[in-house]
Subunit: 114 residues, 4 copies
């Protein structure tokens, strides 16, 4: 089974068992996601940019990052569920769309632009 | 194949084709994720809280939400990849951990607390 | 003295006393700001939207909100300082610009649009 | 007059003229603030960390940063207003509190910790 579907179903069960459906309106779930993105930011903010990748793979930071990234994903899956969005399909489509918009031979080696 | 793995591999290919690996340090990728969370917020911020779920399923908002949620997911997958984090496994583990921390019979129907 | 200037000077002194200047690059300060916005989100996320204003004025939430909003402002002042931005002047100019862009007689009573 | 008070009053007038008071509940205003923080992130995300301070002072980026920082401040002032928070006083108090918590002789030159 798709892991995004598995996460979605586990989150649905978690919410249903606690009768927390009424609190899952999109704006509240998005604020919860923002809270977890904030926790991620707090873990990385003071690391030297050029050492962050290496430091992120050391403990205890690695486990802390896993947990906060997990929190962000769970709320994103919940938000998509509330809004009827197919996350996995949209993500793959978005990468294809970006690939067409930024042809490799035009941007190779140059910093991404918006 | 797991959809999170599929997205991760598609994102890796996209970055490699453009020789954009050097720009993918965790702090930069996290800021890119923050940018997309901001775009999500802009779509929902002025909707009445009690109508947001319904409005999110109408066009053109539904497609716009799909695209921004996709962007958030792609950067989250990229950040996990940079930090050596198994996103899918961590998310399922996190839901189990939260379930143990908030027993259903204690919290049923009461607003989630932090 | 302008309070934004007072905050800016107090923050500069705080950083200088600790020889923390080298860590104040804009991307790091912005991530610190994101961390504090996340703490704000965590305080409000599960409150009923129509009761939030009243609940925000009760203790202990009111003091917690003051502290997190203060944190966001201190990092915003620091970020402006790093980038040579005059925050107070820019904010007043922005309100004027928005007023011209959204004439009152056209938008009165209708939800703000982006 | 304090510039934070001036911004607060200008924002109140802007909202009142448009009869937008009902949309200013704290959760919505916070999401609007998140949207603007996202716009800030988009401006800085791909800049090399060690060149960001210098690049931020060049045009057109400098003006873009001023405008987005202004937006963040205006929404923060609005959020404080909705929650009855004295932003200026809280910010100065917070810097003092942090100074006591992180004595200079203990942390001099070492990266800030949380």
């Amino acid at each position: 089974m798709s892991d995004l579907t598995e996460i979605r179903d586990a989150a649905r069960a978690f919410i249903a068992e606690r009768e927390w459906e009424e609190f899952q309106d999109p704006k509240s779930v998005l604020l919860a996601l923002v809270g977890e993105v904030g926790e991620l930011a707090e873990l990385l903010q003071w690391l030297p940019a050029d050492k962050a990748r290496a430091l992120a793979r050391e403990e205890p930071l690695h486990t802390q990052l896993s947990e906060e990234m997990a929190d962000v994903l769970v709320y994103l899956v919940g938000l998509a569920d509330q809004c009827g969005v197919d996350l996995g399909k949209s993500a793959l489509a978005k990468i294809e769309k970006s690939a067409a918009k930024h042809p490799a031979d035009q941007v190779r080696g140059v910093a991404p632009q918006r």
